[in-house]
C-alpha cells in the first residue's frame, strides 16, 4: 500500500527530479545536435528516474524501515574544510611551500592544543606539547619539500618566502 509521507529522502528526491527535469528541458534550447545531446539526456533522465525511485521506495516501505540521512550540523564544516584546503593551495603558490605548510599545520595544532588544554584544565603542559608539535610540523614540511620538489621535481612559482 502506498503511504504518502514527506521524509528527508522524499524532499531530496523531489529536488533531484526538479533539477534534472529543468536541465533536460534546457537541453532543447542548446545549440547542439540531437546526437551530441543523446547521452546527456540519458544521464539527466537517469537522475530523474533515480529521484523518483527514491521517493517511491519511501512511499512503499513501512515507516519503521525507512533509513533517513542523519540531520546534523555539517554546513560549517562543508564550507570551512574545503575553504581551508583552497586557502592552503593559494598560499603555497603565493607565499611559499615551506612557509605555508609549516604555518598551516602549526596554527591548526596550536588551536587544538589550547582548546584541549582548556578543556582538561592542563594549561601548564601546553607549551612543551606545542614545541613537540612544532618539531613535527617542521619534519613534515621538510618531507613534503623533499618529496614534491626534490624527488618529483614539481614546478613551483617563485615566491618571496621559501
Amino acid at each position: 500500500m502506498i503511504t504518502f509521507r514527506v521524509t528527508l529522502n522524499v524532499k531530496i528526491g523531489i529536488m533531484i527530479i526538479i533539477v534534472s527535469a529543468a536541465a533536460f528541458i534546457w537541453t532543447y534550447s542548446m545549440p547542439l545536435r540531437s546526437m551530441e545531446l543523446f547521452i546527456p539526456r540519458i544521464s539527466l533522465g537517469l537522475m530523474g528516474l533515480g529521484g523518483f525511485l527514491i521517493i517511491l521506495k519511501d512511499f512503499l516501505e513501512p515507516a519503521a524501515k525507512i533509513m533517513e540521512p542523519k540531520r546534523e550540523r555539517i554546513l560549517p564544516f562543508l564550507a570551512g574544510v574545503p575553504a581551508a584546503m583552497w586557502l592552503y593551495g593559494w598560499s603555497f603558490r603565493n607565499i611559499g611551500l615551506l612557509t605555508s605548510t609549516f604555518l598551516f599545520l602549526i596554527i591548526w595544532w596550536i588551536c587544538i592544543s589550547i582548546r584541549d588544554a582548556k578543556r582538561t584544565d592542563s594549561m601548564k603542559s601546553v607549551t612543551p606539547k606545542i614545541l613537540k608539535l612544532a618539531a613535527l610540523a617542521f619534519i613534515i614540511t621538510a618531507t613534503v619539500h623533499l618529496l614534491f620538489i626534490e624527488l618529483l621535481n614539481m614546478y613551483m612559482p617563485s615566491t618571496f618566502l621559501p
Binding site: 531530496i12 533531484i16 534534472s20 547542439l32 545536435r33 546526437m35 551530441e36 547521452i39 546527456p40 540519458i42 544521464s43 539527466l44 533522465g45 537517469l46 537522475m47 530523474g48 528516474l49 533515480g50 529521484g51 523518483f52 525511485l53 527514491i54 521517493i55 517511491l56 521506495k57 513501512p62 533509513m67 540521512p69 542523519k70 550540523r73 555539517i74 564544516f77 562543508l78 574544510v81 574545503p82 581551508a84 584546503m85 583552497w86 592552503y88 593551495g89 593559494w90 603555497f92 603558490r93 611551500l97 598551516f104 599545520l105 591548526w108 595544532w109 587544538i112 582548546r115 584541549d116 608539535l133 613535527l136 613534515i140 613534503v144 614534491f148 618529483l152 621535481n153 614539481m154 614546478y155
Partner: protein, 507 residues
C-alpha cells in the same frame, strides 16, 4: 597465445630491486591505512595516483597493487583486534574474528586472517592469469554493437549490486554519466555543459575527481569529529595492546588445513564476484561467509570459528586479482579501486580495453607478475608488523588529518601544476560528501564516469554504421547473449530482492 619474449621482458622488469621496493612501500602503506578504521584503502591509492606521471609503469603499478593488496588485508587487523573493521570489506570478519579475540585466541585469528587473505589472493591471481588471455583473445571479436551491450551490462550490474535502494544506484550512475559528458563532444568537438569555463573543455579531469571524491569527504568527516567530539576522535580501541596478546599460541598447520571449506568457498565466491563489475570486496566476503555457514560443520560458526575468518578473508582478498579480469579484457573496472588502477594505467599511456592483451602484452604480463610478487610481501609484512599496525589506530585524528589534507592539495596541484585542479578536487569532495551523507553508492558513479566515453563512442559508431537503425544492436550472436544476460540478471536480482524484502517484513 603465450608470448615468451614478452614474458622474459616483463620478468626482468618486475624482478628488480626498484620494483620490489615500490611493492614493499605499497604493502606497508596499504596495510597501515587499511588498519585504521574510517580510512578506506581507496584513499592511499588516490593519494599515490599522481606518482604515475613521474614513475615508470612497473614502479607505479607495483606501488598501487601493493597498496591495494595490503589495504584489503589490513582491514582485518582491527576487525579481529577491536571489532572495528578497518575497511568495509573486512566487516564480515568481525563476527568470528573478534569473538576469537575475546576468547583469548586473537593471535590465531589474526594469523588465520593473514594466511586466508594470501591464499585467496594468490589463487585469484592465478585465475586471472589463466582467464585473461583466452578472454582477451576473444575480445577483438567485439564490435561497437557488442561493446555497447557489454558496457550496458556492466552498468546494470553495478547498479543492481551496489545498493539496497535501486533508485540510489541509478541516481549515482546518472551523476557519473553527466560528469563524463562535460567537455568536447568526442566526434563533433561541440562543447557540452562547460559553462564557459575554458579548463572544462578537455572534460572533467579524472584524477582530481577521484582524489577529491574519495579523500576529501573523509577529511571533512574527521575534522568535524575532531572539532565537535574531541573526546571520541582519534583513538579506536581502548585496550588495544591488552587485547592483542601476541604471546598466546599461534595457528597450527592442522588448524589452517581444517578450514579448507571456508578457504575454498571464500576463494571461489571472491574470484567469481570480484570478476563481475559491482559486487566488490564487501559483498563478496559477506556472500562467502553466509555460503560457508551452510556447509560448515563447526558448531561455533558465527561465535568464534576460524573457518568464518577464513571464508570472509579469503573472499575479501580474492577480489584483488579477479577485479583485473574485466579491467584488462574489456576496460571495465569492477570496483571503485579498480577504477583508480585503470586511471593509473591510462595515465601511463596504456589504453585499457579489448586490445590491451594483444597490443600491450608486456604490460599485461608485468601486471601478472606484480600481482603474484605482492603476495609474499603482504605475507611477510603482515606477519612482521601486526603489533605495529595495531598501534597505528592510536594516532590522534587531530594530528593525522591536517597532514593528509596538505598532501591531498599538493598532490592534486602536482599533477598538472594547475590551481583549477584543486578546485575540481574540492568540488568532487563535496559531491563525495553528499554521496556519503545520502548513502549513495560510489561504484556506479565511478564506473559510469569511466565507461561513458567508451560507451558513447561505441554506441554512436554503431549508429553511424547502421545509419540510425537501432536493431543493429541486437543482430550479432554475442550481443544477443549479452542483452539476454542483462535482462535475466536484472529480473533475477529484482525478484530476489522482492523475496528478501517480503521475508524481512514477514519476520
Amino acid at each position: 597465445m603465450f608470448d615468451m619474449e614478452a614474458m622474459r621482458e616483463a620478468f626482468f622488469t618486475v624482478f628488480a630491486l626498484d620494483t620490489a621496493l615500490f611493492i614493499m612501500i605499497g604493502v606497508v602503506v596499504g596495510i597501515s591505512v587499511g588498519a585504521i578504521p574510517g580510512l578506506a584503502h581507496s584513499l592511499p591509492i588516490a593519494l599515490v595516483l599522481p606518482f604515475s606521471f613521474v614513475l615508470p609503469i612497473h614502479q607505479t603499478m607495483g606501488l598501487l597493487i601493493g597498496t591495494y593488496k595490503g589495504g584489503t588485508y589490513g582491514g582485518s587487523i582491527t576487525a579481529i583486534s577491536f571489532g572495528t573493521p578497518g575497511t568495509s570489506g573486512a566487516a564480515a570478519t568481525v563476527a568470528d574474528g573478534y569473538a576469537l579475540t575475546k576468547l583469548g585466541k586473537g593471535k590465531k585469528a589474526l594469523q588465520m586472517g593473514l594466511y586466508a587473505s594470501i591464499t585467496g589472493d594468490t589463487l585469484s591471481d592465478l585465475a586471472l592469469i589463466f582467464l585473461v588471455v583466452p578472454i582477451g583473445m576473444m575480445a577483438p571479436r567485439f564490435g561497437p554493437a557488442e561493446l555497447s551491450a557489454l558496457y550496458f551490462l556492466a552498468l546494470s550490474l553495478v547498479i543492481v549490486f551496489s545498493t539496497e535502494n535501486p533508485g540510489k544506484g541509478i541516481l549515482s550512475a546518472g551523476i557519473g554519466f553527466f560528469l563524463a559528458i562535460i567537455g568536447r563532444d568526442i566526434l563533433t568537438g561541440g562543447l557540452r555543459f562547460t559553462f564557459g569555463v575554458r579548463y572544462l573543455e578537455a572534460g572533467f579531469p579524472l584524477v582530481p575527481l577521484l582524489i577529491g571524491f574519495f579523500a576529501v569527504p573523509e577529511v571533512i568527516k574527521q575534522i568535524k569529529e575532531v572539532i565537535s567530539r574531541p573526546d571520541d576522535s582519534g583513538i579506536v580501541g581502548e585496550a588495544a595492546e591488552k587485547l592483542l596478546k601476541l604471546k598466546e599460541e599461534g595457528l597450527t598447520l592442522k588448524e589452517f588445513l581444517s578450514t579448507w571449506r571456508g578457504l575454498g568457498l571464500g576463494t571461489l565466491v571472491g574470484t567469481f564476484l570480484g570478476a563481475l563489475p559491482g559486487p566488490g570486496a564487501t559483498l563478496s566476503s559477506y556472500t562467502a561467509y553466509s555460503v560457508t555457514s551452510q556447509f560448515s560443520k563447526d558448531v561455533n560458526y558465527g561465535k568464534g570459528a576460524l573457518e568464518g575468518v577464513a571464508a570472509a578473508e579469503a573472499a575479501n582478498n580474492a577480489t584483488c586479482g579477479a577485479t583485473f579480469i574485466p579491467l584488462l579484457t574489456f576496460g571495465i573496472p569492477g570496483s571503485s579501486i579498480a577504477a583508480l588502477l585503470m586511471a593509473a594505467l591510462i595515465m601511463e599511456g596504456v589504453p585499457v580495453g579489448p586490445r590491451v592483451v594483444v597490443d600491450h602484452t608486456v604490460v599485461v604480463y608485468t601486471l601478472f607478475l606484480l600481482l603474484l610478487l605482492a603476495n609474499p610481501f603482504n605475507l611477510l609484512f603482515g606477519r612482521l608488523l601486526i603489533p605495529v599496525y595495531s598501534k597505528l589506530t592510536r594516532i590522534p585524528a587531530a594530528i593525522l588529518w591536517p597532514v593528509i589534507a596538505i598532501v591531498l592539495v599538493i598532490g592534486t596541484y602536482a599533477l598538472n601544476n594547475r590551481p583549477f585542479d584543486i578546485v575540481i578536487c574540492l568540488i568532487a569532495g563535496l559531491i563525495g560528501y553528499f554521496f556519503k551523507w545520502f548513502k549513495l553508492p560510489d561504484g556506479p558513479l565511478v564506473l559510469s564516469f569511466l565507461v561513458t566515453p567508451l560507451f558513447e563512442a561505441n554506441f554512436r559508431q554503431a549508429l553511424t554504421i547502421s545509419r540510425g537503425d537501432f536493431t543493429y544492436f541486437f543482430t550479432s550472436g554475442i550481443s544477443q547473449v549479452l542483452w539476454i544476460v542483462t535482462t535475466l540478471t536484472i529480473f533475477f536480482f529484482v525478484r530476489k530482492r522482492k523475496k528478501t524484502d517480503a521475508k524481512i517484513s514477514g519476520d
